[in-house]
């Protein structure tokens, strides 16, 4: 319309911004193009058109970018929000696990699924019976997927929260004791020489050092050298699952530091300065090392120093 009019007058205006824009994107007709060619500015615009045809944005590797994105999402899922470790993680890991298992199976006829976490990570694992396990930092879990129906045994070293599907039954084995379950929710934690089991729903049977004890919802037991300590609690979910906080009751400070190391990649020196009588009851955050160390060691009378993000040195009494 406007374009048309300009040309009917044969009096188009090169200063008309829209005109040059349209020429640049090849939207003019032959006649319009031809009349523009005689314009003194034509050559420079032509050069600009050629030059821009020669240009591109730097390359973008979509696969690589997606890989980076996945790593970031998985890290985020694992570190910040264990409850959200949903479909993406599962998709990725089950893919990898299946591939690895396939290889292993080919050579060794072995089909053990093993999960071994770094400090501070948490991971959601689904059992073949749809029971769910949340594995806490620096913990290791394995079970046999193939023979699950015949062999319902799980090996655990560390801490995990189990949400057992209704009516399903299995046994969690640790070096310190074992836990038998039936449609329940509970945590098992073998920490140093302590064996801690908390029941959130249903009923669990705990066997350790020759003793057997059944616990019910809101009940926790802590076993050390055959000494059993039990107490009641009110939370509906472990604090490390709901608030990213570690919570311990009446355990030696040296043992709490082991729990700290499950959450942070941190070396600890000078543990010998800690008195055996230093007992810790309380919570520390799983995402703030400085704060966590302050809470744990603040209750003792030792002096300590943090060397960056990777070392805690206990200096003296």
């Amino acid at each position: 319309m406007k374009k048309q009019k300009l040309f009917m007058n044969n009096n188009f205006n090169i200063h008309d911004e829209q005109f040059i824009a349209r020429w640049m994107s090849n939207e003019l007709n032959a006649e319009e193009i031809k009349s523009f060619e005689s314009h003194p500015d034509y050559n420079i615009y032509k050069k600009m058109k050629n030059a821009s045809n020669q240009m591109a944005f730097s390359d973008f590797d979509v696969d690589k970018a997606y890989g980076g994105l996945k790593t970031k999402i998985d890290d985020k899922v694992i570190n910040l929000n264990p409850k959200k470790s949903n479909a993406l993680w599962k998709y990725v890991t089950s893919g990898i696990a299946a591939a690895v298992l396939l290889l292993l199976g080919f050579f060794f006829f072995q089909k053990e699924s093993t999960y071994d976490l770094n400090p501070g990570e948490t991971l959601a694992v689904q059992l073949p019976d749809n029971s769910e396990i949340l594995l806490n930092g620096s913990s290791k879990l394995s079970f046999n997927k193939e023979s699950w129906n015949e062999n319902r045994n799980i090996q655990l070293d560390g801490e995990a929260y189990f949400k057992v599907a209704k009516g399903e039954k299995f046994t969690v084995n640790t070096t310190l004791g074992k836990v038998q379950v039936l449609g329940t929710q509970f945590t098992v934690n073998n920490l140093d020489d302590m064996f801690i089991v908390k029941c959130y729903e249903g009923r669990v049977g705990v066997t350790s050092g020759g003793t057997y004890k059944e616990i019910t919802p809101g009940m926790a037991i802590q076993i050390k050298n055959k000494h059993i300590d039990s107490w009641q609690f009110t939370s509906k979910e472990p604090s490390w699952v709901s608030n990213n906080i570690s919570n311990y009751r009446k355990i030696p400070v040296a043992t709490v530091l082991k729990a700290l190391q499950r959450q942070y990649k941190v070396a600890i020196e000078g543990v010998e300065y800690l008195s055996n009588e230093s007992i810790f009851t309380g919570s520390f955050p799983n995402d703030n090392l400085e704060e966590a160390v302050k809470i744990i060691l603040g209750t003792t009378n030792v002096k300590y120093a943090l060397e960056g993000r990777s070392k805690v040195v206990i200096l003296s009494k």
Partner: protein, 175 residues
């Protein structure tokens, strides 16, 4: 560990497909808009992470505009803090086979001209440069650009025309 049912973005297959389909276009759009390739790629990542976080709430048909909006808003909020200069190293000028040979009389311009030309692009006002790059490098039509920024085709054509004139004047002085 909730498994979300149905054909939504929470399925990794779908999410992956969205990334493959839109990440490059978004990244190039962000380079055109903000000028910094590595920042553009960070914004793409952040936007898709946000899409993943909200995968249950965003409709599949809105996913593209969602990541574009999120990335642009993030980019703008970054700009409130820093005055960022347009970096033209994100644009490569070369004899790559990627260009479209759109006219029969297509000619290569000299390396020297290309350098001056890139500088003139970098010196354009933001909106003009954005339109110019989306049109000339991303080969988007003025209509598509208009839709991306929610203005009329005429407004885009005017911005493009202004950009071209400004560059012509600069280049004219340099040749």
């Amino acid at each position: 560990m909730k498994v979300v049912q149905g054909e939504n973005i929470c399925k990794e297959k779908i999410f992956h497909h969205l990334f493959i389909t839109h990440s490059k276009g978004l990244r190039n759009f962000l380079i055109a808009k903000f000028g910094d390739p590595s920042e553009a790629e960070d914004l793409v990542q952040d936007a898709f992470i946000k899409l993943w976080d909200n995968c249950g709430k965003v409709e599949l048909s809105k996913a593209k505009s969602y990541v574009f909006t999120v990335a642009v808003n993030l980019g703008i909020s970054l700009r409130r803090h820093d005055q960022v200069k347009f970096k033209h190293h994100g644009i490569i000028a070369g004899y790559s086979k990627g260009y479209t040979n759109e006219t029969p009389e297509f000619e290569m311009e000299s390396q020297e001209f290309m350098e001056t030309f890139k500088k003139s692009i970098a010196s354009l006002p933001d909106r003009q440069r954005e339109v110019f790059l989306l049109s000339r490098i991303e080969k988007k039509t003025y209509r598509e650009i208009a839709e991306l920024s929610g203005v009329s085709v005429k407004a885009i054509e005017k911005l493009m025309g202004k950009a071209l004139k400004k560059m012509k004047e600069q280049l004219g002085n340099n040749i």
